[in-house]
Subunit: 626 residues, 2 copies
């Protein structure tokens, strides 16, 4: 397959760093190309490539990063993952241990008594692993490995026949191991099948770039970050990386963990692959090997990368600190439903008892514990809380459980805990739905039974409604009004209202009708007397976002009229709607015909718009600080 | 020392989980209390405690979490950290290896030839470690360990004399090891000193809660999360955790890494300590031991904790995904300097070429690479960018370097990259200052040489100024105006202006004067004719935050007058200021005396306030979506 040229900008500091690293070791000629398989001896000792792949699929590379070579022992962890998937962990652990041996790669380290290979990274364990990969014949096993390894690499991989034949011909030590495994019944059939599959598995051809993507697939919890395809079940990634960590570098494992600190695997063709979980896949290719059988330049580059880029897997960002994106309450942050003054005052007064927590990042125990503790510690001063998940990447089972327990606990105290932006978290959404509905006595009034909302705005509206229902029970925000009762006409005498009313005709709309279209010229202010409307803009992604929802007695379209601009948003009828259009020209004509009325209208408009500024200023301040 | 009662709310789901875990194993009576030291045999086999400490210093605990016992081998990693600090890594590594032995804790595993203990977690390595801790006498060494261990635990620790004497009397095997080490010159003096210090070190009395805090200190990069005191240099935390990871659980290390996956250490008094780097410290105490010498319930609890809470250290949150808090441009987000219409239109038109990136969390390679790549990829469409660090916890050396390289690269292309909210990142701030000042030819006009700003607002203002200086070179926003030229009087005839002017007196203020005080009644609108003022509110933390900066021709104080509320903010003179106060009563009097003038003034007020609504709405939308 033709690979596209890399799209890395030449100004990338990371690419320049890799180029410097390459230069640093390009002249290093310590070590020897492997010769125990004749075909491997043909490698050019000068070959040298470095690749780094990120969990969003970007690949940095330098040098011979596209030179094919055989995967050799780097196949072992991937085959182990396959065996775990095909046979299950208990069955595999029965046959193959997970303890490091402190011995060389080709040692025949079998546990005394059982004959179990001590781990799957030594040849004995790897051959046993291959025997556990699904398939009755060597060909079936090999095809399965090729399929899955190709998913890891993101391109179809093939076998280097010459190396395979050379391995098969000269692999006496491995044959000895195979028969020893058969002797202990670790292999239950003729070892030839497993051995033949194993020789082919080691002869799969990869590039340094492939290995980096394979490593990044492990770093990305089993999903190839370039293609988005899953190569291994998420639950099996930890065990694979664990054996790489403890046994991946043979008798160099302790030093490796100390100096590099990354789950890794090397192969005698010169490849080294390392994983920084959650962050990076790293691969180096250089065929000269040290006495441990590891690539000399590979080890040096990995050490420098780990030290200089601070990649040791035990040194991690303190994820929990970044979990809170923002913390607000209903005083600071409101839904886009516009409230009448009484309701607004009440929300100002009592809104501090409804808290809003925007979370961010992957929710795992550390982060969630902090968030849950923070939310729980506010419980005494809180009637309800909204947890927004819009910026949350993933919720693990523990975190889901902690949030469910918190919900239960709040509901048992007669409090409400709801979650917004839950669409991307389907299983958590389901679990919340399945949570036995608590029936707190104190809340009998008008509880909204919903625990989840599609966005923060709708969750806020629900919490506001609950607060208002309890404390302003008689509030009739949605009842129709007459023009005489309308906000815009406040302060006008009956005569002035009658005169205006004579010149205005009611317009009626059905639910869903668009009353005002964004982009059109703005010639009228609309007085809403019946039903509700929403002001809606379209976001960059095409998604609709409401700016305001208005009730009878309110008006809309005034901003564009005052500013002399085109309509900046659509206004849609949320129900059957009656409204009156007051033309700009009419307002201007009043300047001569009835300046006093005009002054009242301007004063009403001004007060209304000033109110909006106050609310928006509070919101901006909250969002910038929260 | 009397310890305060825990403040954990009883409703915490984590405490309830720990209680369930406790119940699950409270009845387990497998294993035997250690008897090889007579004093240890006195332990109550029923003792059982679990503690978890978070990196912000919260401690969960259940059972006998405050029962004192001796630290025993759990002292080894902490002493190793001390030896590294006192002698430096090379000197310590000369004497003690870092390879796991796969053997029992009391094995005499010395490397063939050199006689070096294979690692510092076996007794031989630990005794060699103690000999490297600073101090000429056993007492000095012990005092040093007590001091530092107490910093880890956050309370003064002491030695259990009875256990110490018992250890000293019966420690023949350790004495044999000491002499063997002396024989190989690993110990360079009489082994009695190291041995006596070692026996005391093992007899330091701790509780399960102490161990959890000690573990959390490692998780928190060496800083005790409860007291905030540093117990070990940050650079030495990785090596300590590395040897815990590879060698901490003796011949159980591979299984431990596979099933638990946390750097850990156990002791024969029944303690087990485990670290989830960046996230948690865990400790279990239960004196019954298995054949490996590890606490039976300790191992079970750690396995369950790791599995059920998903704590395996190779399974981590994908930190990089949470690095972008928000992405904006100057169209969406503006400084609080209020611009005249021409400038506003220009910013609307060209503001897309100035990008704003708010970063969040600890910046390490994975996160920073993503951020740098994202910023770099926008370079072609960008003239300048602001990177805000307000929500960044820490910038590691690699990340600082990547950001510096990006800055250089942008400046060499004649672009600007600036950083805001840098106060908490002093060394990065210094490094930016030391970066050779690039002198891009294309920017000769009016470049602001600053690379750092105290907050995002001031960085935005600088970028706006640069854009306006280039594209609106003649803009005289700060020049004094006459009342006739004032925005509020726009559209009035000369007669009307003269009539108003007669009734208004100029007020002059010096830089720093407070013209309007928050909380006072609002009776006047101020017309600014000379100098600049800022509208400032006080945030919850007492910090001042500007809401707006105004230039001559603009007015302030209108919102409170229109809304009939008290002043909501201070207005301060940023320079020598002249302004005219227009009393509310004057505006009302015009209703009868000159309704046409009043209508013009209301219209001007209305347009102005409507403009503010439009800007604020855009800002809110950007902040909610960004």
């Amino acid at each position: 397959m033709e690979q596209p040229p890399t799209e890395m900008p030449p100004s990338s500091p990371i690419e320049r760093y890799l180029a410097r690293l390459y230069d640093r070791y390009a002249g290093l000629d310590e070590g020897q190309v492997a010769t125990y398989i004749p075909e491997l001896a043909k490698a050019d000792p000068r070959w040298f490539g470095i690749s780094i792949a990120t969990p969003d699929g970007h690949v940095y590379e330098v040098g011979d990063a596209r030179q094919p070579f055989t995967i050799q022992s780097i196949s072992k962890p991937f085959a182990y993952g396959l065996a775990l998937e095909d046979r299950g962990r208990p069955r595999v652990l029965e046959k193959i241990g997970v303890e490091p041996t402190g011995e060389a790669f080709n040692s025949i380290s079998l546990a005394p008594g059982t004959g179990c290979p001590l781990n799957p990274m030594i040849n004995a364990g790897a051959i046993a692993t291959t025997s556990l990969v699904r398939g009755d014949t060597a060909e079936q096993k090999v095809q399965r490995m090729l399929d899955v390894f190709s998913t890891y690499a993101g391109r179809p991989l093939q076998i280097d026949r010459a190396v395979y034949l050379s391995e098969r011909e000269t692999g006496h030590r491995n044959r000895a191991i195979g028969h020893m495994l058969r002797n202990f019944d670790i292999l239950t059939e003729d070892p030839t099948t497993a051995l033949d599959a194993y020789f082919q598995q080691c002869s799969i051809e990869v590039t340094c770039r492939d290995l980096a993507v394979m490593a990044a697939t492990l770093a990305n919890e089993g999903v190839n970050p370039v293609t988005g395809e899953r190569a291994i079940e998420r639950e099996l990634v930890d065990p694979v990386m664990s054996v790489m960590m403890s046994c991946g570098m043979y008798d160099f494992a302790g030093e490796w963990l100390y100096w590099v600190g990354l789950p890794a695997k090397s192969g005698v063709a010169g490849g080294v692959l390392a994983v920084l979980p959650g962050q990076l896949g790293i691969a180096v290719f250089s065929p000269r090997l040290d006495a441990h059988g590891n690539s000399v330049r590979g080890i040096r580059v990995c050490k420098d990368l780990s030290t200089e880029l601070n990649l040791h897997c035990l040194r991690v960002p303190r994820a929990a600190r970044a979990v809170m994106h923002g913390t607000f309450d209903l005083v600071k942050l409101r839904s886009k439903r516009v409230r009448r003054e009484r309701a607004r005052r009440l929300l100002q007064e009592l809104g501090g008892r409804v808290k809003i927590y925007e979370l961010q990042g992957d929710l795992m125990f550390g982060a969630t514990e902090l968030a849950v503790r923070k939310i729980a510690s506010a419980a005494a001063l809180t009637d309800a809380a909204v947890v927004d998940l819009k910026r949350v990447g993933r919720i693990d089972a523990t975190s889901a459980d902690l949030l469910l327990r918190l919900t239960e606990s709040w509901e048992s105290q007669g409090k409400r805990l709801v979650f917004s932006s839950v669409q991307r978290h389907a299983s958590f959404d389901r679990a919340l739905a399945e949570l036995a509905a608590a029936a707190p006595a104190g809340n009998a009034g008008a509880p909204d039974p919903r625990r989840t909302f599609v966005d923060l705005d709708s969750a806020l509206e629900s919490c506001e409604n609950a607060l208002l229902a309890r404390h302003l029970p008689g509030d009739a925000g949605a009842l129709a009004v007459t023009l005489a009762e309308h906000d815009l006409f406040r302060g006008l005498g009956p005569g002035a209202v009658a005169a205006l009313q004579k010149r205005l005709a009611p317009a009626r709309f059905r639910r869903g009708d668009v009353i005002v279209h964004a982009g059109e010229p703005a010639d009228e202010i609309y007085l809403l007397t019946e039903g509700e409307v929403s002001v809606v803009i379209e976001l960059a992604g095409g998604q609709a976002k409401r700016i305001a929802t208005l009730s009878p007695g309110m008006f809309f379209g005034e901003l564009a009229v005052v500013r002399g601009t085109a309509r900046s948003a659509d206004v849609r009828a949320d129900s059957a709607v009656t409204c009156y259009a007051l033309p700009k020209s009419e307002l201007e004509a009043l300047e001569r015909s009835d300046p006093a009325t005009r002054a009242v209208l301007l004063g009403n408009l001004l007060r209304h718009v000033a109110e909006m500024v106050a609310l928006l200023t509070a919101e901006v301040t909250a969002l910038l600080e929260g």
